[in-house]
Symmetry: D2
Subunit: 363 residues, 4 copies
């Protein structure tokens, strides 16, 4: 495992789905930053299960307890450690997971990598549950970034074939980001919300699941964040975004679409706006040129595969029988992880951007 | 700058487009590995400019000189340093780049980040020329991986709207990879080569440029490579792939397409093949489950934007005049970078995979 | 702060003297290692205060709770997190520490570094209490090393001018290491124990404190550990040893004494012993040649300054008054930290050696 | 090998004693810093051999060529690479080194670590020659530090039993540092220079060698450098100092001497000086409290063992014969490495201090 991230700040995530607790240590935060724990808890609630019919009915309070790193509510220079007790772990039998690994899950790869010693209960360290401490760390970073006028927001761009409208990559504002993230079902065009929810509900009823795309943006970034060649803005963001379970694609600005444009279409002309600020008339570059922030909104698309947990019978291998067998994934699962993934994308971005912020602002 | 990469091996790239030399230091290689420098040079030739009508007519010999790290042709445990002299740098005036930054380039962001001290000649450290040492490092890693039966290959999946066929993600072999990479214009379906070249030539004639997508695969990976959460297979590969100039999207397996599949379609059933090996009947996961290699072929798509260097007049800012101005990018430029990017993608993958190989194989 | 250590394993320590809890996350441990928590707790007891008259009478149970990373008592590949609740923190007023910083402590430097936001209660993150999670991490690493036949032990080499005899650097065995570390007061020559304790008690009675030297050894190291130039055996060990509070000097083998020897005295001749093993007749090099383990016992000396907490009146600055003032450090303090530092040295060595063990054993 | 160092700046050293070239890549330097290459070359001359009777008569021009990272003489943000051609390598036979490893050298440990593939010619990557690029990197860092009013200097504190006087740890100034480092034989008390040189010459005549201690100081450090727990001032400095060949001990301030002081003696009282600056009346802490710079001079002692290369017959093993054999180290060797080690200590300190400087000055 390598569950630590960052060069100027440092995140270390721990826990398994059924361990006593999960949590995160955040080292290298600037001292003197007030952390609003209620606000962080509210942020985490967006990720928590059990809130909507289109999500798993499991309840996880996900109450975060900060056990170090704060004094009088402010960061004190010492590493901040936040814990979440695992209270809702059903003591059922999970041994089938190591006998008949679930397609699309890390069961099989983890068995081989860890020589059979991995914690298989509920997905262990690979469980989506580990995005809870990621979200907490992101919430902390987001509050610090906000004081530097950097704001992050994301929405559901698509669920299967249903599309929300995209952010206006040129004009998107912090207010617009906050408006969409405040919604229970974060889409820009509310008309598509019901359609998306119907697609999810249909999948659930047919013992299936669906995927989708999250679009995120960050505004207020100063020009100059990103350390090319290898710690450029896109490299750092992609590295942490691919750490979110089920992510299979990450793109910036025009992304894969840029591959079918002419240069004359894709290049974004610079101009001075009325205040003398440097801007681009379009924003196909998505806020990053040469791996460095340009001052235009940073736009990212993140593709999520459909939840691999489906209760249909699936073909798999019998690791004991050495025969081909079948498996059914029972239990309470999200037929679509995308709505709950939205804050995870924001959190991952916040961590990476704060890390880059402090790499740049040295000297 | 942060031009170093890797945790178990360590790559440090140096040089600017017009510095005396460019090169790379590779530390942490296993001792006793024979490095075939002719083979490495042949690999680099695939990236070199000046070879085809669809590429820039500039000639760069890119002769690599290994100045340390080898004894009797084999790695000796000491860092391997390879140098390439910059011989073809025209001593022309590049100061316009800091007066009128080119749209789509890093000129503007670098000016701000480095307070005007960046080397602006020919793109400086941001030049595509810096992929030459990346390719050399990749060639070295590829030879070491090949001895461990791991093979990497890539091809042009698309140029603008023209599509090559994709790798057979389930059955692709090392031989097939070597066959396509041996081609002067690396496509699987040779029939599309001429169409792609026509699209590129048309762009050139109209003072424009085009982008495209590179698809890469790695076969022979043992099960277990990748250190989730944050150094998983996809995180590490994406981080280095986004370090290649002009990359705007990276996806694995079904990638963004997975977002519109049902779970029952996207999940890849496991089975024992006739030899008792564990395989999946399909390979939408692209060889990575939970950030860990599954033993199935690793498949990656990398989106390249059209070359930002176009000789048409473009709108930009006058950093001295403080007025909006126009700029023309003169000189010899690739109307499409994608053909030369193919070996860069392979090289980046080789570096990341060798790094992960040695992270896993400890103890 | 940068409270994380290691390249192939990763240690992240958190907590302050008066935060709710302190603890450690250990990432990158091999899977399948049984961790004997009782043995780890017994190891930690050697560091715990309140046990002897020559140590602070404070009681700290230091009960460790492992909240993640184990399944059925064995490492599972996921990060291991261990927590210790802070139960004995007196709610007294510590604000004098930020008004009149104590000589010899980090009060003043922390105030400046963290702009006054540091947790000053009981020394905060700088408290010797933070060596408790270090010791736990070391106990875990030591158990894993022991299974690879590597054993570590340390003793009090001196308290002020009272000297214990040194390890026999050539012949010291694992049994001898275990014998001395099993003692309540770990000296080789028990005759000096009383003298040392008298010196400590005298210091206490005169409101003063004394320092001393810890000598440690590791036996059973395979030849080849250490990654020169910068992660050599001595570099890595020194880096973690200087992280223990109050350490002011670290040396290997003959150490500073080597500076006054002739080369003909200091060089250790190689020979084949009766079993054909390669040894040296003397061991001035202390088990490290060129930053790489030689197979001979690794010997280290670590100098500890006298505890800066003394109840005598001392001169200091008044940060509010902006006048020179005086301060008395009240409370229960060790007149000599050295006896409790012995397991800390062993723990730090175990962490560094396991990290180097896995750096070497790749490929 | 792990020949790279640093977290906020990054040093990567390459080369072997007889490879075509040796050199260093320095990444992460601030842009816009003028680097005086003549001054750097003059600094390196202090390390170069062949200058004095008490040093090896070998001549090494050690001409440094900067091949990247500068534009118009200033750092440009891109990694700075400096090369030194190896011109004086005698093509003699070194194969005896792998048959009869020299006592006190890394021959044997390298053979085992690198499975016999190490470059054994002239010590390979373990050669003291590799301190040339270290010195160049240090010279660069020193110039940048000097502009921030931080100055570093070192002198020979002892050669065998002959002692120079120590720096005045409280009052030492930048001028005093520059005065001693400008001397051909850097001692404070010139009267001891001849005695030291006699001791060295006597050793040479008797085919032997001697060691000694280097004392270094840094003045002008702001309060706050150092990132405890694990990247504290002492940890970071010790790690890089132990990377210098032949170093066997490192201590700060009173060092090992602190172990025999009372706390009341060793604690340094704070006071406001006439300008209102915070100082300590004594400086036993050597400028570091809690791993953080206190603003007082940083003082370090570094113990060097006697050169292991002596031409007397020594006992060793025959790796081919599998019998005990003898070896004589022929050739031109320093009977004492200490005078040439003085600038190496300064260089290592400069690299570490600049790294810590940029770790601290973020945000």
């Amino acid at each position: 495992m390598s569950s630590n991230f960052g060069k100027s700040i440092h995140i270390s995530i721990f826990g398994q789905s059924h361990s006593e607790a999960i949590g995160v240590v955040i080292d290298g935060l600037p001292a003197g930053e007030y952390i609003d724990l209620e606000q962080a808890q509210a942020f985490m609630k967006r990720r928590a299960p059990g809130q909507h019919k289109y999500a798993t009915p499991r309840k996880e309070a996900d109450l975060v307890e900060v056990v170090s790193g704060l004094m009088d509510g402010k960061t004190c220079g010492a590493p901040l450690c936040a814990m979440i007790q695992n209270t809702n772990a059903r003591s059922k039998d999970y041994t089938h997971l190591i006998k008949t690994p679930r397609p699309g899950h890390a069961d099989y790869t983890a068995i081989i990598k860890y020589h059979g010693f991995q914690d298989y209960r509920g997905g262990g360290h690979f469980s989506g549950r580990l995005t809870a401490p990621l979200c907490f760390a992101g919430a902390v970073c987001m509050q610090i970034l906000a004081r530097r006028n950097i704001h992050i927001g994301a929405h559901i761009l698509s669920i299967k074939q249903i599309q929300d409208q995209a952010f206006d990559a040129v004009h998107v504002t912090a207010d617009q980001l906050h408006t969409v993230t405040a919604k229970e079902f974060p889409v820009i065009n509310d008309a598509v919300a019901v359609q998306m929810q119907d697609v999810i509900e249909d999948a659930r009823l047919s013992q299936d699941s669906v995927g989708g795309i999250v679009e995120a943006a960050a505004v207020g970034l100063p020009v100059g964040l990103g350390e090319p060649m290898f710690d450029g803005l896109e490299s750092e963001l992609a590295a942490i975004l691919f750490a979110i379970p089920a992510v299979k694609g990450v793109s910036f600005g025009e992304g894969f679409g840029a591959a079918s444009l002419f240069g004359s279409e894709n290049n974004d002309p610079f101009y001075y706006d009325e205040t003398g600020a440097v801007k681009t008339t379009t924003n196909h570059h998505g806020g990053s040129l040469g791996g460095i922030s340009s001052g235009m909104p940073l736009t990212v698309k993140v593709a999520f595969k459909p939840t691999p947990s489906i209760s249909r019978e699936q073909q798999t291998i019998g690791l004991e029988s050495k025969q081909n067998e079948t498996v059914r994934v029972m239990g309470r699962h999200d037929p679509c992880i995308v709505p709950r993934a939205v804050p995870c994308v924001e959190a991952a971005m916040a961590i990476a951007l704060l890390d880059l912020y402090y790499m740049q602002n040295k000297g």
